[in-house]
Symmetry: C3
Subunit: 174 residues, 3 copies
């Protein structure tokens, strides 16, 4: 019973941090009718959650712009913000799937795919929009993750960035 | 003995579904002499199979076209079909490695890399060529997978798409 | 005590092979001040090491050129060498994290991302710069890995290639 109490506190901690940062995890994606999405956003198996590529969303669940190539239509600053929003999208999917964001016991590996013009050199700066969010919420120990940040040729609906990930999770109700 | 019988039935089920869909898993890749391939198509370790990037093949094992950029030389419909053929290539590698395709107990994470022109927005529709195949064969529970679908700048031999994946497997002979 | 002796011998074997190939694992990356890097190069959890995208480095820890697009500014031969250097960078991170490179008990999955011009067809040949190194050091059994080799639009600081990976590791001090 003591550990359950602790767990409840932990749940509050992540949610509280989101609120204290004035951040909202978005509703389930409301994609326009012609836009295809993966069959699932999160695949749970054993103590792992395998996370599909997520793009930036607005709090109401709609896809968030700006759209286009980072380095021309989209600035580095905007792309950093988009990566942060993609992180919030991932957190939304995890919360819907896991019930509590505190069930994530370790971030493991993250791939940040930025829709860039040729020769754009700052994909890692874009990716920090995601990593900074995760560290702010989970701290350096739980939040630490291996990461690759690459510039790609195209993404669904001209999103500026999508991010996929692998996290370790605790069993439900523990 | 009862469970072995069930297992045999299961083996037949996946193979039967392939046949009922008039689909054939291709022979081992016959690459042209100058074409390099990964040292292995599937890396088995514990209860996981780590799957190298696979492109589309013809049933005889040769590389299947069309070749080139999706959005210019290759249409969306052709690329969907290529993604399906890449899925069959993966199944071929899994069958050769595992003996039976029913040893796959869970699809986990899939990355679909489409060779696109800049600004191509429908990488997820291409990826459905793969996902639809897996769902048709394995159903929604075993077949469900996290997925990312990105447009890349180049692929080996101008393939329109390659796909890599991670699956959970059952021990042999169980 | 016998097994510890064996372990010591094993440690020497990998280090000896590096020396016999006249290869040096580089120092910790000395990135120019404006260059962002992942928060960690290797994320250890359980029996896995999740490895961030690594680029080529010189032995002193500085980023190694040539820089630019493979297929125009950078030749295939140079890119092969860059992939080998990226492999040495990964080994450097693993050694700093694990203490001994012999704690890697299985290479599992590797992604090679080459900064290419459109239509470059030989990403797999580039990737062999990495794979050949791993096989030379670890042999075919421990070193075997699933692999994808793609051409991307952009990489940090115009690196010609970055590589990320997943390996299985033995517990420390065993």
């Amino acid at each position: 019973m003591v550990s359950e109490d602790n767990h409840e506190e932990e749940i509050d901690m992540i949610e509280d941090k989101l609120a204290s940062l004035s951040l909202k995890i978005p509703e389930l994606l409301k994609a326009p009718p012609h836009v295809e999405t993966p069959a699932t956003w999160v695949r749970i198996r054993g103590d792992k959650a395998y996370i599909s590529g997520h793009g930036p969303q607005n709090p109401d669940g709609s896809i968030a712009g700006p759209f286009g190539k980072v380095g021309s239509e989209v600035s580095l600053e905007q792309a950093y913000e988009s990566a942060k929003l993609a992180g919030l999208s991932i957190l939304g999917s995890l919360k819907r799937e896991l019930g509590s964001l505190s069930r994530v016991t370790a971030w493991l590996q993250v791939r940040v795919m930025v829709n860039t013009v040729a020769g754009f050199t700052r994909t890692a700066d874009v990716a920090n929009g995601f990593s900074d969010l995760i560290f702010a919420l989970y701290g350096r120990e739980t939040g630490m993750h291996a990461r690759s940040a690459i510039g790609v040729q195209a993404l669904p609906v001209c999103l500026p960035v999508i991010i996929d990930a692998l996290v370790e999770i605790a069993p439900a109700g523990v």
